[in-house]
């Protein structure tokens, strides 16, 4: 009873502190957006002269849109790679036993926690060793490989929620494993797959640490922005950042909706926590 009344009335100090943490998390984002409409430059206070000039400049910027196109292609292929391998990897972790399974799980999940520089550099050395030229293909392979970890955790979480009885019924009724997979397992995993795909797409669009080492002549969007930052900053970068932000937020909210729809039975939504896989299969 006492808990019930307390959870409705948070201590004032705690609420104030929580508010301050949110303020810290959102303050830079708000500043960035506000100054993308600022006629008098990136800094200074107060912002003066509201304008859409930076957005206008942005839409006429060919190099930037070229980079956006590159990023979208890279992200789309990376989603295909990550889902194509993350799905079997999640099935393998959920349903089979094989020698070296623990090592396999660790290896797949390693890019999730290992700093991007190590994944990026190791792949760079591989591509150099086999004489591959650095270009969008190498970046795509890098993103795909690093993001298999995300696909695996997301799909694994979906598999854990799956009603096994349906699959067993299908097998009992004479379907083989393949038919069961195509007609029962896969349709049931649809929401998980879409959610994982959205997340991977967003992460790939934003990825910079791995791409940094695998870049050839064509830039992805974050690398294009990065190279411009070295030449000095203009509110045009605020404008493109604002658009990226709006897009990411849209995708993240969509992903979150899908994921909560999956997890309604289970209260704890803990996205991308490698520990959850470790704990459940160890």
């Amino acid at each position: 009873m006492s808990v019930g009344s307390q959870s409705r009335r948070a201590p004032l100090l705690l609420s104030a502190y929580a508010f301050l943490v949110y303020a810290f998390l959102y303050f830079p984002i708000i500043v960035l957006v506000v100054y993308s409409f600022n006629g008098s430059g990136v800094g200074g206070f107060p912002p003066a002269r509201w304008t859409l000039d930076w957005y206008r400049q942005l839409f006429g910027d060919g190099a930037l849109w070229e980079a956006v196109r590159n990023s979208v292609v890279v992200a789309a292929v990376a989603v295909a790679i990550a889902l194509g391998l993350g799905l079997p990897a999640a099935l393998a972790l959920d349903r089979t036993d094989f020698p070296g399974k623990a090592l396999f799980r660790r290896l797949v999940l390693l890019p999730l926690i290992l700093p991007g520089i190590i994944t990026g550099l190791s792949l760079l050395m591989l591509f150099v060793a086999v004489g591959m030229n650095l270009n969008l293909v190498t970046i795509t392979l890098g993103h795909g490989t690093a993001l298999i970890s995300v696909a695996t955790t997301e799909i694994f979480a979906g598999l854990q929620k799956l009603e096994r009885a349906q699959e067993e019924a299908s097998l009992d009724l004479g379907a083989n494993h393949w038919q069961t997979f195509w007609r029962v397992t896969l349709p049931n995993l649809r929401v998980s797959l879409v959610a994982a795909g959205l997340l991977i797409f967003t992460l790939s669009l934003d990825e910079i640490a791995v791409s940094f080492f695998l870049i050839g002549r064509d830039n992805t969007l974050p690398l294009e922005i990065w190279s411009r930052l070295r030449r000095g900053i203009t509110p045009e970068i605020n404008a493109i950042s604002t658009l990226i932000l709006v897009f990411s937020i849209g995708m993240i909210l969509l992903w979150y909706r899908l994921r909560t729809r999956l997890q309604r039975a289970d209260e704890s939504a803990a996205p991308l926590e490698p520990a959850s896989i470790e704990g459940e299969t160890a």
Binding site: A10, G43, A92, L229
Partner: protein, 282 residues
Amino acid sequence: MYSRAYKASVTIPPLLWVTVFLLVPYAILFCYSFWSVSSAQVIVHNWNLQNYAQLVRNPIYLQVLFRSMRIAGSVTVLALLLGYPLAYYLSFHAAKRKDLLYQLVIIPLWASYLVRGYAWKTILGSDGVLNGFLQYLHITHRPVEFFLYSPFAVIITLTHIYTPFTLLPIYASLEHIPRNLVEASHDLGSSPWSTFRRVILPLSLPGVLAGGTFAFVLTLGDFLAPLLVGGPSGIMISNVVVSLFGAAYNWPLGAAISFGMMLLVVTLLFITERLEKRLAIS
């Protein structure tokens, strides 16, 4: 239950991919660390321990490593100080707004790294928003230079980026605490503070450990924030690696540092995983 063909087709493709694109690259990285660069700027494959000897002998590398660990430690402590109370608030006091407030944490988690790093650059710069604000209020009369291009700037930027990462596992572990334990403690006459200290805090330690590890490891390997806002005094160990792979052209030495970093990270993960398990059991 599953046929051999089914097992093979879910295990072999991801296993092969991960071997080719993760295991082999890590192995190549390891090999490079024993090679050297000749005076004609060619990488020669004469196996020796010179690179590792140089890391230990030349104090510069250890200095930068210690600075990186100090920065990573500060970010970890700050992220925990910001993340824990917010996670606690979300889990125990957010009531009806829980879902919305949780989404508000997820958004900055996945919102572009580069965008958030750039935002801090525009805030902390000498003609940035913060300096403009201070001068507007006549608190300072000329731009304060040390906000940007300092370890302080790296710490604040990375704290902003990794606080949501730290919060999630803490939140997950708080959500897993059986509410009747908390109620029992209240009913037996404990004050809210002693309930927190003796019931909630101990049970949430695995999450604190997981979250802290995330923040520490990801900060330790970061090279983008130092390039963006760190300046010469904010250089971290990964920046040394980046320059060795770039202008300084000494891949073998860079590989040795990377491998050392990888070893450090994997050891750290191993230890915290053990600790988490022990905490979870007791």
